[in-house]
């Protein structure tokens, strides 16, 4: 099929001109089955409409920048193949549950604030001098937290979470998964510093286990699991006499 084409319906919003977002359709060539939605956006920007705004960087599912709603589902656009939508038009919108800055660009300040609040780094009560050697771990100790460390902060889980959509005070899936990743790390001693955030009513207890966060995660992280296990752990800490351990 020499002149195969596909229609891309993209959300447009210019904060200086528009009262609210609207949809603009672009019909573009679709010559190659390996084309992804991000390729289509790049074609539009390069050849049709240079004013279209969106985020992207690595184009290989690692940086987490190009997350958007593709036909209503949060996806990395570098990993959403046009062949899965053709010959129907494909609709591209900014990630749900976030304010729109411009076109397909969302305001991620809330997420960045929440991410920082759970201190997603290794905390030591007393740093060991470099000369003392490595913090060695067994494979079993790494397996405890490995899957939660795969998060690329793409925010698809927040766009899929109706609880966050209804109440943006909720700490949310990715931040909780990363808090758990460090709480499970045998080198970390920062559990008590993270508990005020994760065990707060706006932390894990706000989650009603919809589970869609784990479904849409492009890296196979299971944030719903992190949240439910954190609920159980914080309850055990409260109930059991020896529970309030480090």
């Amino acid at each position: 099929m020499p002149d195969k084409k596909i229609t891309v319906r993209a959300t447009r919003f210019d904060p200086d001109k528009d009262e609210k977002p609207h949809v603009q359709s672009y019909e573009i060539p679709f010559p190659d089955d390996s084309m992804v939605v991000l390729d289509a956006l790049n074609y539009i920007k390069a050849h049709v409409d240079g004013s279209l705004s969106y985020r992207w960087s690595c184009r290989m599912g690692i940086c987490g920048s190009c997350g958007m709603m593709v036909d209503g589902v949060p996806k990395l656009t570098c990993n959403a193949f046009l062949r899965d939508y053709w010959p129907r038009p494909v609709t591209v919108e900014p990630l749900n549950n976030f304010p729109i800055v411009r076109d397909l660009v969302i305001d991620m300040d809330d997420f960045m604030h929440k991410l920082k609040s759970v201190k997603p780094w290794i905390i030591r009560k007393q740093e060991m001098p470099l000369g003392a050697g490595e913090h060695r771990q067994t494979n079993e100790q790494i397996d405890e937290f490995r899957q939660f460390s795969q998060c690329i902060n793409c925010m698809l889980c927040y766009a899929a979470c109706p609880v966050y959509g209804l109440d943006d005070k909720f700490l949310g899936p990715a931040a909780t998964a990363l808090a758990r990743r460090y709480n499970l790390d045998s080198r970390d001693q920062g559990l008590k510093q993270r508990l005020p955030m994760v065990a707060d009513p706006d932390g894990v207890w706000e989650c009603s286990f919809v589970g869609e966060c784990s479904v849409v995660c492009p890296k196979g992280v299971d944030p719903a699991k992190a949240i439910q296990q954190t609920k159980l752990d914080t309850t055990m800490r409260f109930v059991l006499p020896y529970g309030n351990r480090e």
């Binding site: 800055v101 959509g165 159980l232």
Partner: protein, 133 residues
């Protein structure tokens, strides 16, 4: 939807539509799972009323046997089964145990939950049948 000004950058906030749970099948079945608790609560309240009615013993107590009540009870039973199956299936996600320093597979945890459910149901059925004779 509403426009908002935040500092120097004007952003546009999209409110959550009331029909958000119809967007995807996963959301719909989540709402069904949560909703099943309501008719179960109504049935249990009815059950408490029946217990109160039976406080004087079997004499003078006639349990509800109207067609409407039977249909309602069957529907509530289906809801209870759906709620129980979804709840126990999620146990493998929530519970995490280690035996001999090895994690127990989540599938085994789920199977054990269903096993305990069957045992508990059998015990309750035995008590009801044995002492109800």
């Amino acid at each position: 939807m509403s426009a908002a000004t935040e500092g120097a950058t004007r952003v546009y906030r999209r409110p959550m539509p009331s029909g958000w749970w119809t967007r995807r099948a996963h959301y719909f079945w989540y709402i069904v799972r949560e909703f099943t608790a309501l008719p179960m609560a109504v049935w249990l309240l009815w059950f408490l009323v029946e217990i109160q009615r039976a406080q004087n013993g079997p004499k003078g107590y006639y349990p509800h046997s109207s067609t409407g009540f039977v249909i309602f009870s069957v529907i509530v039973l289906l809801f209870a089964l759906y709620h129980s199956v979804t709840f126990l299936s999620l146990a493998g996600v929530i519970l995490h145990f280690r035996v001999l320093d090895r994690p127990i597979p989540s599938r085994l945890i789920v199977l054990s939950q269903f096993g305990l459910w069957l045992v508990a149901s059998a015990v309750v059925a035995f008590v009801l049948v044995y002492f109800g004779r």
